[in-house]
Assembly symmetry: D2
Homo-oligomer: 422 residues x 4
Amino acid sequence: MKERVFKDPVHDFIYVYDKVILDLIDSKEMQRLRRIKQLGISYLTYHGAEHSRFSHSLGTYEVMRRILDKLSRKGELPLSEEDKLLCKVTALLHDCGHGPFSHSLESVFGGSHEQWSKDIILGDTEINQILAGISSDFPKKVAEVIDGKYHNKLVVSLISSQIDADRMDYLLRDSKATGVTYGQFDLDRIIRVMEINDGSILFRTAGMHSIESYVLARYSMYWQVYFHPTTRSGEIILKKIFKRARILCQQGFDFYLPLCLRNILTDNSRVKDYLKLDDAFMFTVFQYWSHSSDDILADLSSRILNRRLFKRIECGITDEIYEELVILFNRLGINPDYYLVLDHPSHISYDYYQPEDEHSKNPIYLEDKQGKINELSQLSDPVRAIAGKKQVMYNLYYPRDMILSGQGEIYDKIKNLLSISK
Amino acid sequence: MKERVFKDPVHDFIYVYDKVILDLIDSKEMQRLRRIKQLGISYLTYHGAEHSRFSHSLGTYEVMRRILDKLSRKGELPLSEEDKLLCKVTALLHDCGHGPFSHSLESVFGGSHEQWSKDIILGDTEINQILAGISSDFPKKVAEVIDGKYHNKLVVSLISSQIDADRMDYLLRDSKATGVTYGQFDLDRIIRVMEINDGSILFRTAGMHSIESYVLARYSMYWQVYFHPTTRSGEIILKKIFKRARILCQQGFDFYLPLCLRNILTDNSRVKDYLKLDDAFMFTVFQYWSHSSDDILADLSSRILNRRLFKRIECGITDEIYEELVILFNRLGINPDYYLVLDHPSHISYDYYQPEDEHSKNPIYLEDKQGKINELSQLSDPVRAIAGKKQVMYNLYYPRDMILSGQGEIYDKIKNLLSISK
Amino acid sequence: MKERVFKDPVHDFIYVYDKVILDLIDSKEMQRLRRIKQLGISYLTYHGAEHSRFSHSLGTYEVMRRILDKLSRKGELPLSEEDKLLCKVTALLHDCGHGPFSHSLESVFGGSHEQWSKDIILGDTEINQILAGISSDFPKKVAEVIDGKYHNKLVVSLISSQIDADRMDYLLRDSKATGVTYGQFDLDRIIRVMEINDGSILFRTAGMHSIESYVLARYSMYWQVYFHPTTRSGEIILKKIFKRARILCQQGFDFYLPLCLRNILTDNSRVKDYLKLDDAFMFTVFQYWSHSSDDILADLSSRILNRRLFKRIECGITDEIYEELVILFNRLGINPDYYLVLDHPSHISYDYYQPEDEHSKNPIYLEDKQGKINELSQLSDPVRAIAGKKQVMYNLYYPRDMILSGQGEIYDKIKNLLSISK
Amino acid sequence: MKERVFKDPVHDFIYVYDKVILDLIDSKEMQRLRRIKQLGISYLTYHGAEHSRFSHSLGTYEVMRRILDKLSRKGELPLSEEDKLLCKVTALLHDCGHGPFSHSLESVFGGSHEQWSKDIILGDTEINQILAGISSDFPKKVAEVIDGKYHNKLVVSLISSQIDADRMDYLLRDSKATGVTYGQFDLDRIIRVMEINDGSILFRTAGMHSIESYVLARYSMYWQVYFHPTTRSGEIILKKIFKRARILCQQGFDFYLPLCLRNILTDNSRVKDYLKLDDAFMFTVFQYWSHSSDDILADLSSRILNRRLFKRIECGITDEIYEELVILFNRLGINPDYYLVLDHPSHISYDYYQPEDEHSKNPIYLEDKQGKINELSQLSDPVRAIAGKKQVMYNLYYPRDMILSGQGEIYDKIKNLLSISK
């Protein structure tokens, strides 16, 4: 096949040399990712964050291609041609199971995005057909790599580790799209100091500072972008919409509910239904719901469409105060199940770097000139400072507009408890 | 009001100092622009082109703010405070009337986007309420500026001329998003050499090359991005979808057609309906339509969703060949009204610079140190070379997949005429 | 005065509004800084590091101007017009006393660069004349600000603190010139969150991560650029050249020694002589010296000109080994005073951030919404991890070329001790 | 040899795989280029233009390496390994014969820089030794390539044509260093559309706009940077200094004149002398000369050191006025041979693109999908507009400071003729 390129704002060009990669990009399941934003609802905070999972998937493929190219050129890559293709294919497909609003709603759709990715790869899809064209067990192999169970652990490590193609692409891409410069690091240099040692990925100590800089970029992006309180507010509202819709569905309430979505909400989800869902579809649903006769569903849906988000109280809300607020909200007929939300982002795994964590069995190792191998946080003071720490944030989200516009004693009490005034 | 900022990938920060600007940004009509891509269907060509009209609207406002700031600091701006606010407000709102896929479908929705902008500004909308809060005739003034009929012609020129805030923002933004570097130019320098002379905008000759560079950037972007044949292919399919839907609607065909869209297609469009339309809504409609029992509507809709575009034959198709192809297509049952499309982008106004054009009454003037005023194309060889030229392209678009997969004499004849082979 | 601008690769444009600033830029003492590289000998490591003190001085002025502009616009700057001018002037002039190769040779020229700056400002110079034209005591005030003794401590803090115009400019400029991306941070955001509280500089806690990112940028630049072992090697050779020249001068050795340099080496340095010295002058002197009849002076000078640097042994050299090497070098006639150099960069003050240090009386303080003030390292894990730490490096530098080319028992012993082989 | 890299601000990294390339970089003749600025005296206009010929030489090598790499990967490069090495070596060495201030003084030093390059490559130098180590006739081959006389014309074309590694590097590098954005173009894309057809370089028509954009970048850089009037003023003064020095030397005047420079000025130049000259050396000489007892030499030298440049009158100076000025200047004792300079930059070859020019035997050809070959200016309107045009500028340079400070009738007449007033 002749070289094909895609112009890319992050990597300048994305190079494709395999017909199968091109076919996968053209598959309808991958094209669907064009309609799913990479950062879910984050664009309500950073208006530039409008890039899609599709762009990120191409980027992940390209970073993987460069890694393989670099290691091959140095003659260091103990992988068969099939395993190399497996790496590139999996890099491209790893996110094909994402649903609307990416991570923001992952919990709602009955399964992790990795599970959905595997279902799509193994199911009755164009992707499956293309992969089966390589060899009948290729789809299974891709699924195994995603699962981390593929027999060649080097392939697994290349796809998913502390410094993998996925993370390197999303940090650079999200940083560029939002305009937040802290996510930038030196991709070329990291690839240059990457080595394979006994089937595992290592980095030369000479590149220690570029890797340190990558870990710190991740740390910064978490706090500046991924956990941004405004984004969290949008995510909370999204989840509450689905909580409400699920209850209404269970109650047999009559409202706009396309079959594919009904199947998902009643846990009869099938790949075919799931693939119909994307951000566009959900926005249309929200538009219908914003005219629903259920006030809560209508209000929350309209909040997402028109960016009327909940406000945040940063700290100092004791359990007593919270309980008192619940009572007051109830007395006003503002359902606290939907409108008074405690959020502890500490529950989210802080994955900017945790050498000892269950999930990340792949600490970052560096090899010095003498062949001595050290784990990154042993060498870097700032990395050690943030490694594995769980920073706890306590936030309370509520609809300030509703409270501010209200009059009377109860409203005054709430305003007082929340220390807000016009 | 305290200064408010928005992080922006193009201008770094967007600064807001007026409460009314903030309120307009928060209005639901402006928030709707987040769901309309700035470059319509271009993201099928340049996957990075995923930015919205909303981002561009903020950017246009910011460029205008900087222009006003610069001219005010030099004490050169003969505008009242109200007229300055009018400039900023109009810069922000100028695109609020865009419909799904921006320019790509503008002709379909019964009116130019400028007309819709005015209808929204003067209609029963949040935007109208906010503007009326400034003064009762403020909405009318904004509409007049958009129309070019406002009494103070300097305000009109600032909003719409050969080098205005709108164009400067979209060139920089589209260039950055696509990754096509040719759209870059030196915004700061252009603003620096801008002057007001006798109520008109002039530029100091010292900045001639930066302005030349801006015109050439526009020229490059037209041919590299805006008229890209792949994008044209997508736009053609979009238009054919609507052509089909309109006919089906007239015929009383039974298909998914939400009321707001039905009203538009039957020319009963009202602002209220129009505001429900956005890219997300249309993608959902296309998903329904891709399962329609009308084959043409189903096929074309699925083509947009899954990016199976028409291919292009670049030249050399004579009228005779075209007529022969029409006959052959008809014999195969492939309706040439939808599947055999001649495209002459020369019909599109080549607005990278036309000093004498009817539409652009504002040629670019430069003033030298001696006070002599020259029109740009008199001073610049490369600008003169492209000014006002209509470069004609003749392209034929057709579904190569359908033809390639076919067997038999007629198919062979078509393949022969189109000089294609597997 | 009309606005004047300078195109700058870091800040895009540098804006000058004061005639006195323009005159100072045009003074011959400032123009001399064009012939002194900002990073001394670093360009032997990073070939892009060819920028001058002059560029950095303009940049420092511009950052100061933006800080003052920002604080003034917010109405927060309790400074008289004269004190504002003092800030801008001192920002521009703060480095006018730098000698050849900037910091690399500072110890050689009889006084810190700050001392020389003051001597130039107070001496018989064009700078002094221009400053005296403002008011007779203005030169003295500038010198006092450089000394940190000016009565208005806010002026002193603006010029010199943990986050000042000087440091922000050099990090960005050095990072851009070397191509090392780690020195980048968000200058605009830091200026935006800067506040004056009770005559001191504070930062709003909202901007904590941008400041954290600045401190980490500094940390990275120290280890990646400023302390780079190749650069250290060049600096060691530079110092040894001067050590040798001084001894030869004392011994009455006959060699090329222009009067201005002789005066410096015999501690009769005067401003007039000092101002004749710049990188260009020293390179010419080195060219003469490279043909000197003193072998050591000739060899070391030629090493700098032709980049034949000493090599480094990273660690593990015990005192015994060092002593043995001294003996062996002596036996070979390779003078260990010049050719066997232990280097402990820990002696250099690690100024990326030391809240408790004598020298840096200005820790970074942040103020949260409730008005509570915290020191940065209390809030930031990674900053705390690096704050005030002295990381010790032990390196041995020697001329590997000399050793490798030698034959015989002694050479073999040395090679063995240094574990080197062809 | 193991891969070696150099961090580069333009190309990010420069990759070296050949020991001979590394040795050449380390040669003293190449290290000398670190002390010669790429843009001569341009840094007096754009203070960022402080980069050296050395950086540009590395960059030219790297662009050549990428071109060869790209063509080799596509299997399109009909070159032996030796010819490939020849390309890389010549790219690196092509500018080794530049003297102080690069092009600004080229005419002064008795021979073009290409001639000096060949003399260095064939003479008694480290470069010659390294090249002879490849094969005894390798130095001759390199010289032949520089001369354009090497038998394999493809090698010659790769080194020197309208779009070669040299030009692509300097446009990008000069643009980045000055901060003038107009010199940017899409290097990767141009390399991607490059092809070898029948031993000649062609470009695919698909890349026409990227090449158009490169030609326009060159056009812009000429007028914005290379011919900038302030830079021309500096160059004029430099040349007048040497004119004066040469006369003084012929007259036997007693002044500081190092032997190597005396040899050059008396046309006894030898490679050995020439290699001692660099910017640093000349600045030191200028410092001595600024204290010379010859007023003209002293004044002009001090002007360059302290940036007191001549001012420019842009147009309208007739022969009569010029003659009158000469008389008046003479009457004031201001020697018009040095202080009244007419400058016609039209004499400089406008090499942004001249398809028919003697010197540039290599017009740019593009090949379309049908295999038809067109010359660039046939396809591109803006390129045709500027191709081969000689734009004539008439400027008069003179020392405004001298005239403004003067009193009396003659001065008034001059001021009047030059239309200047305080």
